[in-house]
Symmetry: C2
Subunit: 337 residues, 2 copies
């Protein structure tokens, strides 16, 4: 039982398939007489006609599809951004809806290359790369010669792409300022893996404010191998080894913060009395903890909307004078600090 196609529908109605095509299209519908148009639309609806988008794509050279690359689908913030982008790409009255293709790279450059090639083979109209690493730069630049490539969440050093990012530096600065206002003199950062610009910028913003307010960072910095709660637990050991001991900690994301808090609990340290702590991302977890976690709220909505708009505009006009933007996060103070 083959699907109904446009040729058959046209035959049934006694018109040419060109007329059917025009009647059902958005932009050329005015080329067909109103009466005919309605007749065709009625019939198409009644017969359950559904156009074959692969055929349309082939002919038009436009698939109404964008590829989304993400390093880790387990990351709540990434998922939030993806689903928000979904919403912005989905049907709005004016523009046609866009179907997203998603691929998880797990930060492996060869997987990334393969996935990008698949995207291009499937003729995506654009690619959005969420949280890419510098290892992907060359591949993305290659891809960018065929379709617009937009970056979200993570910038890539030394490469200029249209992008929608969080101002991580400002976020780090907010935390330091907050610590200063609460009178902390000795503080410490638990930094995520430095291969990502995200964590470098958070560190930078934080350190700048510390320097200007003559707050001491001690130990100067603790690097977590991964941005997970397990690494956070281990970080506390390094932190307690120094003297004088810091009174406040900036963990580069909520998972790290949670790890630190758990480790504190095991040692009988109390939060915030013995050690204040602030995380980053405002994940569900942060609201839920026994001691609700102070954290920096990630501007998910803004980043996603801008990424979506960049993509829409660049697809419409590849020479569009895009504007990369940094969105400012906001500090949420809860009990942990």
């Amino acid at each position: 039982m083959a699907r109904l196609n446009m040729r058959e529908l046209a035959l049934k109605l006694g018109v040419d398939r060109a007329t059917v095509s025009r009647a059902l299209s958005n932009d050329k519908a005015h080329l067909v007489a109103p009466a005919t148009r309605e007749r065709i639309r009625q019939a198409a609806g009644a017969a359950g006609y559904r156009p074959d988008l692969t055929a349309a794509t082939l002919r038009r050279g436009r698939s109404h599809t964008v590829g989304i690359l993400v390093s880790d689908l387990g990351n709540e913030t990434f998922i939030d951004v993806i689903r928000t982008i979904f919403r912005h790409l989905d049907a709005r009255s004016d523009a046609p809806s866009i179907t997203p293709l998603i691929a998880e790279t797990l930060d492996q450059p060869d997987a990334t290359r393969r996935l990008i090639h698949t995207f291009l083979s499937r003729r995506v109209d654009a690619i959005i790369s969420l949280a890419s690493t510098e290892a992907d730069t060359a591949i993305l630049q290659d891809a960018a010669r065929e379709v617009p490539v937009v970056l979200a969440i993570r910038a890539i050093a030394g490469a200029v792409f249209p992008s929608a990012l969080c101002d991580d530096r400002a976020g780090g600065a907010m935390v330091a300022t907050h610590f200063a206002e609460r009178g902390h003199k000795i503080v410490c950062q638990v930094q995520g893996p430095p291969l990502s610009a995200t964590f470098k910028n958070r560190a930078l913003g934080f350190s700048e404010v510390c320097a200007s307010r003559s707050i001491v960072e001690m130990p100067q910095r603790i690097f977590a191998e991964t941005a997970t709660s397990g690494a956070g637990k281990r970080a506390l050991d390094a932190l307690l080894a120094v003297s004088p001991r810091p009174t406040a900690i900036f963990a580069h994301n909520d998972a790290l913060a949670l790890g630190v808090i758990e480790a504190m609990r095991h040692r009988g340290l109390r939060c915030p009395e013995d050690l204040a702590i602030v995380g980053f991302n405002n994940t569900q977890l942060s609201r839920i903890l026994a001691v609700p976690l102070s954290t920096v709220d990630y501007p998910v909505e803004e980043v996603s909307r801008h990424a979506g708009e960049l993509v829409r505009n660049l697809i419409a006009d590849p020479s569009y004078r895009f504007e990369s933007r940094l969105f400012t996060p906001s500090l949420i103070v809860r009990a942990s600090s």
Copy 2:
């Protein structure tokens, strides 16, 4: 700068495009002389030729694409299943790799209908529906007349689809048995929204064991409007209103369990001394809590693998005698019980 297509590549090599097509294909490569085949493959690689999959799809009637419908992308378990399915659909030496299209329904039937139509228009080879509700039955049955439809995570009452599910009833039973073994006489369930078969089955399995072991459920059942921690908090009030008071609670998922625990903390009740609690899903959260949560581990790997295999087999042969399977979860006992 138009993309290199097969015609041009063939021209450059002085062979017919048919020969190029066969040389690059997997199943028909033996129809081309080994020397020519290698020459063509080399050239294709060097020139960075990438086949246009929309054209291939149009001609073959096979897109090597499956649509994945999911009710809520914020749900950790759903995401886990999706990414595991990804892995099983991705390239393995034997079969060609399949690109997943993802859509979030938010349990809205009209959105679901629209998304399924998009999938079909894009000629997906199959649809996997994760956690669909009964409202979707008719739409899914419609779709099933065009492509194989596979269910995962949630069954739909009164409709037979190939499916890969968790044996929620067994899971519920395990929890009840566990409570019985620990000597609890009065227990209670905090049940998720009953529109989903998942929660009904968990409740059923639990109650059956309680009945057979003469354990009292008191209050008989508490319904949470949503399966979230907020609802869990409110559930505790209902629970404490009764007398005699239960000594153990089965929350239908970890978020609900967390809510109950938080509410307990606010009232100064201790877990497990005052009230034992077991959740469901074994989310990251459950491991991380101050009192690590006993929970039922969801068989993510098995469910995903089976769903993937069903899809692969049904695509290869629509009349494949599929086997729907229930996978048994396992109880993980931690400090909370």
